[in-house]
């Protein structure tokens, strides 16, 4: 396959970026998108120029490092995968592909396609945990948990923290990310103890960091490589409301909101 690539190049956080056009030839349709980028970079290095910097690590869709905005969509055209799982067979010979970094104010570009996502860590630090120390824990089977709750919690916990939801959202909202963590714990008895405080603190931190609000467009859910459901946002809103009014919580039904 022969392809034309329009890639966002930006030297560092303070400099101005621009699109640069590259050609790559003889790409196997079986190669992954990032392997195609490797081939491009190899040729750039041999020319003595600066290769395209991008985040990537596990290359099997679980670490959440890769973060390319491909032809106007986070992680490219396929559903339910990350950039590293995208394969070139998904593109046509001769196609032009536009590659950009995530674009959101709380994710400043560091270089080329690399953005700073430490704001996500800060949100987790604000309350994305159950406050227990190591040791002195009762037996794991001491608290039975309905399978449906455990499964729903697992659905939410599948989030890989890549930030595609923010990149896809016109408001740069992090609500899908935050609600996934809030839901994972809110659905489990262990997590209910601090539920009110947790949702309050995480939402406050999210706001402080400059992420936008949710206007129910659903782009986050559509682009999430792990198909995290937008019903988590509804659950978070309810948790948030309850945390404010102190009302007893509505009984959870399996299957989400």
């Amino acid at each position: 396959m022969n392809l034309t690539l329009k890639i966002w190049r930006q030297k560092n956080a303070t400099s101005k970026g621009k699109f640069v056009t590259y050609k790559v030839n003889d790409i196997s349709p079986n190669s992954s998108f990032l392997e195609m980028m490797d081939i491009l970079n190899e040729s750039i290095v041999l020319k003595g120029e600066d290769p395209v910097a991008f985040d990537h690590d596990c290359r099997e869709g679980i670490c959440g490092a890769c973060s390319m905005y491909i032809n106007g969509r986070p992680h490219g055209p396929d559903k339910a995968i990350t950039t590293c799982q995208l394969h070139m067979r998904r593109f046509k010979d001769g196609e032009t592909i536009v590659i950009e970094p995530w674009r959101a104010r709380p994710f400043p570009v560091l270089k080329d396609l690399i953005v700073d996502r430490t704001s996500f860590d800060k949100i987790i630090q604000a309350g994305g945990y159950i406050s227990i120390n190591t040791g002195g824990i009762p037996d794991a089977n001491a608290i039975p948990i309905p399978k449906t709750d455990a499964d729903l919690s697992m659905d939410a916990a599948s989030c890989i923290g890549c930030g595609a939801c923010v990149a896809a959202c016109k408001n740069a909202s992090a609500m899908l990310f935050v609600s996934a963590k809030v839901s994972q714990f809110a659905l489990l008895p262990q997590g209910k103890i601090e539920a009110a405080e947790r949702v309050h603190n995480m939402v406050a931190e999210m706001d402080r960091l400059g992420f936008g609000n949710c206007t129910n467009t659903g782009a986050c859910e559509a682009e999430c490589p792990k198909e995290i459901s937008i019903s988590n946002i509804a659950r978070m809103n309810r948790e948030f409301l309850c945390s404010k009014i102190g009302a007893p919580k509505v009984k959870e039904e399996s299957g989400g909101f």
């Binding site: 987790i124 227990i132 794991a140 919690s153």
Partner: protein, 646 residues
Amino acid sequence: MTELNSKIPKGQLAEKWNNYKAHTNLVNPANKRRLEVIVVGTGLAGASAAASLAELGFKVKNYCYQDSPRRAHSIAAQGGINAAKNYQNDGDSVYRLFYDTIKGGDYRSREANVYRLAEVSNAIIDQCVAQGVPFAREYGGLLDNRSFGGAQVSRTFYARGQTGQQLLLGAYSALSRQVKKGNVELFTRHEMLDVVLVEGRARGIIVRDMISGAIERHAAHAVVLATGGYGNVFFLSTNAMGSNATAVWKAYKRGAFFGNPSFTQIHPTCIPVHGDFQSKLTLMSESLRNDGRIWVPKNKEDAEKIRHGKLQPTQLAEEDRDYYLERRYPAFGNLVPRDVASRAAKERCDAGYGVGETGLAVYLDFSDSISRLGKNVIEARYGNLFQMYEKIVDENPYKTPMMIYPAVHYTMGGLWVDYELMTTVPGLFAIGEANFSDHGANRLGASALMQGLADGYFVLPYTIQNYLSDQIRVPNFSPDLPEFLRTEAEAKARLQKLMDVKGNQTVDSFHKRLGHFMWEYVGMGRNAEGLKKAITEIAKLREEFWKDVKIPGELNEINPELEKAGRVADFLELGELMARDALDRKESCGGHFREEYQTPEGEALRDDQNLMFVSAWEFTGENKEPIMNKEPLDYEFVEVKQRNYK
């Protein structure tokens, strides 16, 4: 030769760890606040250690090269984590988990360490459940288990095919809580370049800020390396692209002995290599062997036809298939340990029965399970793995059998540590995959997660105190001491040297060539001739690298090529040590298979008389031969036998 003191506590096996805990020195709360600990790495071992030490009151600094601690490669572990809970009432016990691990490791690990590992395994599950890790459950609300290789019980806890992710996110949440409390200072996108010794003790590290390129000096009372394994020396492996050996290699060069460097695990079920451009290999969880049956065609002609696309695997009649694991190992069948399964696949493919375009693949077939249990059950168990496979290979594994082949996955070797997880450098600890570990010559599936978390949550927080209790009068170190300045200058000079080569070949091209030598000569089947060849070829390649590597960009910016170059430079040295160790170990055991030493049936043939020891290599200087020290393995409680999975 240096006498190695493994510091194994006296007494009966089951009492050793309790005795140790009862008598070890502790640090009182007021003193803990004054003591600083550096933890390098934020995977299962690093994050759990950093969080647990901070909870105890120590001041912790935690480093990772990724942009977030949550991305450490533990995240990619799929299948599960073992524990001796015996929730299934199928006869499991701490002793049985201990025994299976010792046997699985082909009697090349330390009894006392392995017993401790089995002992603390149950507490790990309790801990993780309390953290909110959503393990799979039964309809009654209790935890579910599945089986893994090398065991006849179901003791593996799992969270779909994402167990590593969920356990890591648990440890990450505990770590995040301590960051918020100010007990852990986090340094992301920081890569460790060297360890700093002051008067023979580890007192700090030199790191590079990967955004600004600044070289920094960081001091502490003790340094813990939780930097993972070195499978990427093979270029193609299931490791993450950034996984590297620089931290452990620099520690080795500062005096920490390197244990069993040649012990590499080749995982039997990975997606086969498909082209020169390939950047990494993807694992298909061992858990698939619960429901998948492994086979190749019985006749070479059929294999040939399948390779050329003239015959579909689904068209081949049952009697024309060779379920070679079930045939050779009826007792364990498809659930033999990884080393056995990998070698058996290689044997069939080498003999000409392999499938796939290259002939380097075997089938993992789910059709029996799908007809027995229904597609829905298989989908619920392995859905994400099947989806991953389909994305890469472009074939539907529900309809046509998966193709798999062995690939480098894990390194049992690593820094030699004593019972307290301390290396031969006082104050320098190694935990998780970074140490030479409790897995001997072969690790059982779902035991890496167990060991990483055992070390980080339940072992190191005790054992490091025995060291630190001695350090309470030592004031905080200044990173401006001459030792720090000198080590920093050396690290800077090395980076400058790399930049100054200005050659013609890319870093990856060297890495691929190294990987080729390693796979050919230091891979699944090794022999003296090949290993000698590897040693000379790697030395030549290293020389060429330092003369002709091409690194664009500058030192003081984000420079991925420079990062890779530093790591590959270390792999080029480590690869040679692996070959030396493999050459020296004139026996076959676990993942180390020397073709000269096998039984008539082609099984690994150990030499317990002469080789029942841990090889602990000592650095003696650049371009000088390292010294091999031995830690004899004393089997007090277990009868050492030829492994038998038949």
